[in-house]
Chain length 381, copies 4
């Protein structure tokens, strides 16, 4: 693991996600740009001191010299955005498979370069767009793909948060540190809310609908005085099949938690999923009663939804299980690759480098649109 | 009553709304442009045949000649949009108070002229934006006005319907007739969905937030092939205090009923109301638990919410009661006017001619924006 | 109308319910045992003074002497329980149809006698168990009757209220007066909560399940010190087909409103309805997704549900509309009777004298069980 | 780990729960009464073959001979009920701490004996009543304990399932095997539903309310023909402070998943929690708006709720995290014991041997009541 030292929220989440299904063992790490903090974190996590490294460069260097059956196989990178590209590239080039936190890179240019590295090295790559790991989100995608809703006409996606309603930058407790780097253009890139949660919403919209955004018309705001990056935005969208939609993501919806939600409507029906009721997928129909699909609800579910559940219906599977689904599917594919076997399609259903490229393109396009007087800008990569 | 003959949905709703609180008696009508249908409708409603008129002109003519204590006092107009302005103007000029279905007129020009007539005649005027009649919507407005949420930053309003997901125009049953006139530019004006439900969403946004829209950036669509007017649209909004927002209204969200919903966020908290849970207002706060306000829930509610309830908490008050609140408040103001008394502020809280003017301006501005290449257009009246 | 003078909650509800569908006109009344209050109430309601009577005896006497086309046709009785039987009996014997508030009488003996009067006079009789007027409750009954759920195994019904959590008896505002008579054995009979809301729960259970309770095992409590009648109770139930169930009704569930709820399970599925989501009926199935039936949701609904709706799906119909459904169906049957026509089965689906007899038997049996050391007592009439 | 071999649902759950917080490492096991299956299971789980044992006796024997820093410290027992007591006793007596699946033993007599063993050995003991591991259930208990609701008057608890609505015994797939042993008196003991889920409901009621059941009046049923043990039951309850309540648990509520739910009402307010909305606790008040407490919602939460959360509010924590909370708290106490430190009160808040004794007493008392003609039986241990 690169990053995720003491006090880092997402590092702990990655470690839990990796452990849930017993597919990974944490064997080494460079947990912080501060070597002492890295060491302390490694110790706390029970690692052998000799495999806690001062830098990621050192980690790759040393690990690749270990015998094949001892060295680390998968590198998980959970640093702030500006430290995504370099370690990811180096890891891939050092022969490791990579799991990387979103957004993929600091810029679209880096993203495109990283895509090239992935292609060139042939290593596997996973980007942790967690929400696509929920069984009912997977089911939603399968239902759209099945054609049951007919041709898709509308996609509404939203991600309201309230935690940045006040100016918290510069503070020292863990939540305030989150606020600091996520609003700092040097660490986050050109986008704040759009990069942090807008990319999740965008990815969810394309994942579930199976469509690609082709045009964007956005309003991007810095609502809280003194903030350096956007904390709010909304965009009208057009998709490659002629459908249209609305995306909004905000960090100043005071009182909101993380209720990411998606609705997709086709000619014959629609579907709705939201994280606050994570194990429910509502299907609505033109001429018959709405239906409630449920995680592990039965044989009516697709193999994708079934494969990504663990507990009997009604025992809620939450965010960590969704995250673990990404880790598990990636592990199954890594093992298949190591064994020269063909992975099942359900295993391959995790976000990859192409999602990362599109996510970075979203950031650049939505920010460009926000600054532009032009009504619609083409979604370009 | 003008319009609302046999088979007209909204005429029946107006009649029930008027009757619920025993403040009105239906005494006369011109229920249809077809005199025979008018006659039959009047008979079915138990009116004296001599007060069922062939035309609204005849109705005003004859009624104003009746002795003051016999003649009708309030004219309710429930015709399609293209027959709003003329009868409303004539009714006011004939000395009657007027209740008019929304949108107020066929065009903004008519709306401005009607506003002049209302001002000149001094007669009272109510526009039936029903959703503002719900007790919890009134409470929402009062909470924003109280400053409890702090300065308002975001307004999200939506009105998804699915009933026009297919081409129904030209059919003959009541629902299909609804579809026909509402999608016919000769009867509805320049807008379909934006006029029919977009105006409701717009009115709700301004009513609850207490703000005025100043700029619009809209995407307006005709989704169903062959349809003459828009059946779908979305708009980014800017408000006069610097807040921004999103409005969408669609009639092609297959499977949706009429779940109009509004969310407003300020510096310290937010609120959420939707018609599917009409007696609940959710208040969310930055630093304490969310609260659930309920219709008739107790003394914590404002006088506005309390005044507009009838039944003990938990006995749901629905759409017809919200509609009846408009009728009742208008009646209380009419009586106060007749008695030369000052109406209470709670009674005066019904939509009036200014809401109508702004609603028509919304239609013209949102349609103009939809057709424009300009990103933002000023909201002009 | 008998009873329902100024300040009486349920009288106003009955009047609204009667007016909603324009099937009734309030023409006369004896609104209070206090003649002056009756007079004042009648004036407030806009009645001719000569048809506001000092006593119900006088009302029946005078009204039956009026010409047939002038006299009142239906008597609505909304007095406290101890003044149900006498006016109802006298009204029926005077040739009027009767609508009576629940519970039907002061005692089971009275109920049985009243049943005889109804049978003997041939007049129509309606008991206002409001909850059976909801479209989705009617749908629930039809679904059970259709056999779709298979043989019924479990019935759970509950009615939690919190308004009597403190001792309010003896106070003088309208709500406190409600508390006073409803907890006074001289006015309410042998039961408090069991009579006031337990009967509703019991009626709902038998109405929806189509079954009859055969045995009761109850725990009845007076929770608030000083109260004279039960304010809380629960009962285990056995039904005539071998099913079992649980009923509870309480007025000391602090913070609860009136969220009456029923769940019924058969071999193949179950259903759930509650007043807080009044226009939704959830159907759950053993081997396929749950379904959401909605008021006016479409042709998949039974004729019973469709007949009892007024507004397009998603415009909520509430408590007053449910109440109005009882009044309207009764009116349709009264008219059919007057015209010598056969009423439609949907019209006849309102609670009648048999429901009243069973409700009074429930009160006597559940109170007897509460006092008994015997585990199960037979439900006897 | 004892039990939990291939195909066993609850074994996998225990393993995930143990791994989530990185507090445990699976080092040895006797996974099945069939030595070959045990071996295969251990291999699948990646254990060293020499620490996969044919029997639990062998496991304890061999492990206790290992050096202290190598041997297993905590034994997790996830066998069917009839194989709880012996391995738990032997584990404790062999010097290991024990985590045991509920219900604790096969009979109350065994439970009492096991309590003696725990006391005598001084080893730590955890019983996995999972639902008490949810942060919002912990909060509920703290709120009752704080006195905010006033003296408790009513406790309603329910656990509806539908999975045994048909006769599944004897089948061979994993779910059918579950059905087989859970309905087999030789493996499950005297109770089916009451032991499997009734004990959960009972434990939840006592845990949240802080009260003890003193009397039971139960109706216990075998609904599905041919079944050997109860699959349904309901009980009226009395508590040691004079409160009363209702408990029901059923496995024949067709279409229900595992929506265990509890409501507790005191003089001033009530609370409600259910597993289908696991991260929400509703607080209802006599005279002010209801409040929504949320997992990780903020500083308004007790230290108990905060300690048992991992992810920012709105990222749902589900069943496995609730389960993991038991494991983690137990680990923290084990470590404290090993270090001779005083555990924090939040760590000690896991179900223990006393809960197990009361759970077994519940089974014996509720089944006795079900068979008895006596209305109330004292809750005896």
């Amino acid at each position: 693991m690169i990053g995720g030292g003491q006090g880092a929220f997402i590092g702990a989440v990655h470690r839990i996600a990796a452990q849930i299904d017993n597919q990974y063992e944490l064997v080494c790490g460079a947990f912080s740009s501060n070597p002492e903090k890295s060491k302390a974190s490694g110790e706390e996590l029970g690692l052998s001191p000799e495999r806690v490294y001062a830098t990621y460069q050192e980690l790759f260097d040393k690990e690749k010299q270990l015998p094949e059956n001892e060295r680390v196989q998968v590198i998980s990178i959970v640093t702030p955005n500006h430290v995504h590209f370099e370690p990811a590239k180096l890891a891939l080039e050092s022969g490791f498979h990579v799991i990387l936190d979103k957004p993929m890179t600091f810029s679209l240019a880096e993203a495109l370069e990283l895509r090239g590295v992935v292609e060139r090295t042939g290593k596997l790559f996973c980007l942790t767009h967690t929400y696509t790991g929920y069984p009912m989100v997977k089911e939603a995608r399968q239902i759209v793909a099945s054609g049951k809703l007919g041709n898709i006409r509308k996609v509404y996606v939203e991600y309201p948060q309230g935690w940045l309603s006040t100016f918290k930058e510069g503070g020292d407790n863990p939540q305030l540190k989150q606020a600091s780097w996520r609003t700092d253009p040097k660490q986050s890139g050109i986008a704040g809310a759009m990069g942090d949660i807008g990319t999740h919403a965008f990815n969810l919209a394309e994942y579930v609908s199976g469509l690609a955004v082709t045009q964007i018309n956005a309003n991007i705001n810095v609502v809280v005085e003194g903030r350096q990056l956007d904390d709010d935005g909304a965009a009208l969208l057009k998709f490659n099949n002629g459908a249209s939609g609305v995306l909004f993501a905000t960090q100043v919806a005071a009182g909101e938690e993380n209720n990411v939600k998606i609705r997709v409507y086709g000619e014959r029906g629609g579907l709705e999923w939201q994280q606050e009721d994570e194990n429910t997928l509502k299907l609505k129909w033109l001429d018959r009663p709405a239906e409630i699909y449920r995680t592990n609800g039965g044989n009516y579910l697709s193999s994708y939804a079934q494969h990504n559940s663990r507990t009997p219906a009604g025992h809620p599977e939450g965010y960590l299980e969704a995250f673990a689904n990404l880790y598990r599917n990636f592990a199954l594919c890594v093992k298949a690759a190591m064994n020269g076997e063909e992975p099942q399609p359900e295993w391959q259903d995790y976000p990859g480098v192409e999602d990362g490229v599109r996510g970075m393109a979203f950031i650049e396009n939505v920010i460009a649109s926000g600054k532009s007087d032009k009504k619609w800008i083409d979604f370009t990569i």
